[in-house]
């Protein structure tokens, strides 16, 4: 058993959901108990999707366990086919479904549905989300493109002269960290190289698109965690080479362009000379001098962590003091990247271990996931998010890729801004005793009220809203300007404290206004609620 406060990855069936949801006409029938439907909200709330994920849950209950849960599965699969008419179906079990051993694969086969049905074996007690996504994508690709595979030993027909090279973009999923924008950035990069995109998958692909993956000359793998396995199979089955470089950062984007140009037989020079890449100049400009040697701690999925370490050390002049990943499957790559920086990689999915490592290294900037944002907040360190697990904030309304030259520009901004505000920190240090600009107020880039003794997030807005009030009371000039001093009965004051901190300031102001207008003093609990009723919400 593993004691877990937070987890970096969901269970493997959530990975499968990310593949199904990314696609246009694939349905997933999941043998799962009530409650597992929580996973829908990842897509509808975090990613703000306007459609439910294409998943049917069998919703078995305790009382079904002695009876026929297999029948329940078959009915659910049958009804899902009738209702949604998908072009292909995935079938499998969640962690509890796995324990009752109903064999969704055999049950679905027995239904004889007139569409490809792809069974998924996702061992929930050994594997996690990214593995589940990779396995699902691989099974789909094998199942749907497999029938179009040339006979073993057949050579790939050569491209006709003058015909542009074609490639597939593999790996972007639903609920991926900036996948939506990365697809656009990479598609744009490829088109400037004159390369035609045959299929992007699973992102917005249909089952028919998967079937024609073999038409491309080569594959671009954006996220090896998800598409690495499928790309290996495509290489064996169709002889398609893989572009393994992930274009995150200026250097990696240049490498990517060079590699693609070689496979496509085109000249990379015009794209490499891209003037839209601002990171190199911004990083050289004198203003960036203060970035030099900033100690950074990097943690995330393997793809983003490796890329971040390279950008940090080669493109921004930071000093990487820690590098790690929760992706056990890609641990070797991360270890190699760490070794190049003279570090030992931290390979763990234990949040507490990451927290301990981060606290011990005392970095000046954390580049991590939403989990590390928690850690950094607690330790009072600036942080930028570079990888999944995702949060609603990781789906910005604007175009905000991580890949390509524009992605590097986005990264420059999002990593440097938390540090830029560091100037404010100096001022806080200088004017520690200033009445409204004091130590306790905390600097704006750290969220609110990060400096507190217990190492726990303070009741934040309270500090923000109350501090100026208290300070103003203490400043003699301002006190003289206050015509009446409204007094609060002690029990009313206590009652006020029970109001959630984020609306407490407003409640206080409204109540004092209400009492002031009516000449009520002291303010009692009754006054507080009279005012509440008066103002409504």
């Amino acid at each position: 058993m593993q004691l877990t406060v937070w987890t970096y990855e969901g269970p493997p069936h959530v990975g499968a959901m990310r593949i199904a949801t990314a696609m246009t006409d694939v349905h997933y029938v999941l043998h799962a108990p009530q409650g597992d439907t929580y996973a829908d909200l990842l897509f509808t709330m975090i990613e703000r999707r306007g459609e439910r994920p294409p998943v049917t849950y069998t919703t078995f209950q305790a009382r079904d366990l002695g009876g026929d849960t297999a029948d329940l599965f078959q009915r659910a699969a049958h009804d899902a086919y009738e209702r949604f008419k998908p072009a292909a179906m995935l079938v499998g079990a969640s962690c509890t479904g796995e324990l009752i051993q109903d064999d969704p694969a055999g049950l679905a086969r027995a239904l004889g549905l007139p569409i490809p049905v792809i069974p998924l074996e996702l061992p929930s007690y050994q594997r996690k989300e990214n593995w589940g996504a990779a396995e699902t994508f691989y099974r789909l690709v094998r199942g749907l493109a497999g029938p179009h595979m040339p006979a073993p030993g057949t050579a790939r027909p050569a491209r006709k002269p003058g015909e542009p090279a074609r490639c597939n973009i593999l790996g972007p999923t639903a609920l991926g960290f900036r996948h939506r924008d990365d697809v656009r950035a990479v598609t744009d990069l490829l088109s400037r190289l004159g390369v035609v995109v045959n299929v992007t998958a699973p992102w917005q692909a249909s089952a028919a698109d998967i079937a024609r993956l073999g038409d491309a000359d080569f594959n671009v793998v954006l996220y090896p965690e998800i598409a690495g396995q499928a790309a290996q199979w495509l290489k064996r089955a169709f002889g398609q080479p893989t572009v393994a470089t992930v274009p995150i950062g200026v250097g990696a984007t240049r490498d990517f362009v060079t590699e693609v140009a070689r496979l496509a037989g085109v000249d990379p020079a015009p794209v490499l000379a891209d003037a839209a890449s601002r990171l190199p100049w911004y990083s050289r400009s004198v203003d960036s001098t203060y970035l030099t040697g900033k100690r950074v701690f990097v943690f995330g999925d393997a793809t983003h962590a490796i890329a971040a370490a390279r950008i940090a050390s080669e493109e921004l002049g930071f000093k990487v003091v820690g590098l790690g990943t929760y992706s056990h499957e890609q641990a070797r790559d991360v270890r190699e990247a760490a070794a190049r920086l003279g570090l030992e990689a931290l390979i763990t999915d234990d949040y507490l271990e990451v927290e301990a490592a981060c606290a011990e290294l005392q970095p000046e900037l954390v580049l991590g996931t939403q989990m590390e944002r928690h850690i950094a907040k607690r330790l009072g360190i600036p942080c930028a998010v570079i990888s999944a697990p995702v949060h609603v904030q990781d789906f910005p309304a604007r175009y905000s890729p991580q890949m390509g030259f524009e992605g590097a520009n986005v990264i420059f901004d999002s990593w440097v801004h938390p540090l830029m505000m560091g100037l404010e920190e100096h001022l806080l240090g200088m004017f520690r005793d200033d009445f409204e600009f004091n130590d306790g107020a905390g600097s704006s880039h750290l969220g609110h009220g990060t400096k507190h003794a217990a190492g726990r997030p303070a009741p934040v807005t309270d500090a923000v809203e109350r501090a100026p009030v208290v300070a103003a009371m203490e400043a003699p000039v301002l006190v003289a300007e206050r015509p009446i001093v409204l007094s609060w009965a002690p029990d009313a004051e206590l009652e006020l404290k029970k109001i959630p901190f984020f609306v407490r300031g407003k409640a206080r102001r409204n109540t004092e206004k209400f009492a002031g207008e009516r000449g009520i003093s002291p303010i009692t609990v009754e006054t507080l609620y009279d005012a509440k009723a008066h103002f409504g919400r």
Partner: protein
């Protein structure tokens, strides 16, 4: 000395009961583990350890992630492949996890081992584990267990299961003790204090709340205990309290001015509070509640509302919206309908209202889209998809996480429904 128990309308149970559509299919509802989200804030020195899978841990952080302002007092002991191989090993592993946990959080006084779907299916006996660990960590930490599994519990039933686990450890009221009032169900601290003041004004001072805010302060119970439920989903807790001799005071649930009045009156009548005293105690806050409701009535009057099943609070809320805000009820879905505990609320629903129990989400969506209600109450998995189809929605989960009970919150409860409508009216994009 007791006056007649209830002055509010009680249903002539059975004959004019509204028709109930019972459905069985995919349920778009959380499991009982989710209750930990509010239970761990309420009992301030308790820790909730789910014994489950990565899915359980993922559920907790996905549902709670944005709401946590402090380090949560809950965690998951994730069952791994090797634990499935042998239960003896699983028990040893669990002990090690608990040891590590309690060493990290020495301030914890009560530990709940919370069962999940996988732990139930592999029949990991958490009651024995609780006993074993309880002996080991006594008297410092009390160890209890309950199941929040999705195969047994729906969303708010997790609170029921947790409180049921608390009942056997409640101290015994002495046999000759004076009658006492026990208010049962998690309330926001501020709401609890409001009720405490109202009961005090009526002269009911032998009063306690279950759960208490701290593990060491759980209330006593006995044959002279009268209890009021604040939530309609506490069926098992009620049964356990009755086994300890307590008597339920039937009442509508304390939502809205009318519901709160009737709920308080049930206690007042049971404790022989004179009408004049009762009236004097509630007049001002009831007046405030009526006034506060006016803010939202304009937006809500005559609007048609559709409830997907979620928290079991649907029926009392529907009663409040139809009677105090004049909304029209299209369908009122609830995961489970406790006819006895909801009798007073059911009796106040308009005749012929469509109730549904259980769920087949696809069929219910068909009905909802066909009915095109003005506002739809649903879970987070359905809200954006319905908004994208042009419907206005209210997240059901907010009704559980927001203080809505009592006079001072009546306006807030109405506002929760008015806001999505006002927002839609305000947006011009």
């Amino acid at each position: 000395m007791n006056a007649p128990l209830l002055a509010t309308p009680v249903p002539a149970s059975g004959c004019d009961a509204p028709p109930i559509l019972r459905e069985r299919g995919q349920r778009e509802v959380f499991c009982g583990l989710t209750g930990i989200m509010w239970l761990h804030r309420k009992i301030q020195d308790a820790f909730f350890l789910i014994v489950g899978s990565r899915t359980c841990a993922h559920l907790m952080q996905s549902a709670a992630g944005v709401m946590i302002f402090a380090e949560p007092r809950f965690a998951t002991a994730i069952i791994e492949e090797k634990d499935l191989a042998g239960l003896a090993d699983a028990n040893a592993e669990l002990d090690a996890v608990v040891e590590r946990l309690l060493a990290r959080r020495p301030e914890i006084r009560m530990l709940f081992l919370v069962g999940s779907c996988p732990s139930e299916v592999i029949k990991l006996d958490l009651s024995r584990a609780a006993l074993r660990l309880g002996q080991r960590f006594a008297p410092q930490v009390r160890v209890l267990n309950y199941s929040g599994s999705g195969i047994e519990t729906t969303f708010t039933q997790g609170e029921d299961a947790c409180l049921t686990a608390l009942v056997p450890i409640l101290p015994e009221e002495p046999a000759g003790a004076q009658a006492s009032l026990l208010v049962v169900g998690v309330l926001a601290d501020a709401v609890e204090d409001q009720f405490r003041r109202l009961f005090a004004a009526m002269g009911i001072t032998r009063l306690a709340f279950l759960p208490a805010r701290r593990a060491g302060e759980m209330p006593a119970v006995g044959a002279n205990t009268r209890y009021l439920l604040v939530q309609p989903f506490l069926g098992e807790t009620a049964r356990a309290l009755e086994n300890r001799g307590a008597t339920r005071l039937p009442a509508p649930f304390p939502l809205g001015a009318e519901g709160t009045t009737a709920w308080l009156r049930a206690a007042a009548d049971a404790f022989g509070v004179a009408d004049s005293v009762f009236e004097a105690a509630i007049a001002a806050p009831r007046e405030r509640a009526s006034k506060a409701l006016q803010h939202s009535r304009r937006a809500l009057r005559g609007r048609r509302i559709f409830f997907f099943p979620d928290s079991q609070l649907e029926i009392p809320i529907a009663r409040f919206l139809s009677r105090e805000l004049e909304m029209e009820l299209v369908e009122v879905g609830t995961p489970y309908l406790h006819k006895e505990h909801l009798a007073a609320d059911l009796a106040l629903l308009p005749a012929g209202v469509q109730l549904s129990e259980g769920q087949d989400v696809d069929r219910q969506l068909d009905r909802c889209l066909a009915a095109a209600p003005d506002i739809t109450v649903c879970g987070l998995g359905l809200a954006n998809p319905l908004e994208a189809r042009g419907l206005t929605t209210k997240w059901a989960i907010e009704l559980v996480f927001t203080p809505i009970q009592g006079f001072e919150q009546a306006g807030d409860l109405a506002e929760l429904f008015a806001r999505p409508l006002n927002r839609r009216a305000a947006l011009e994009v």
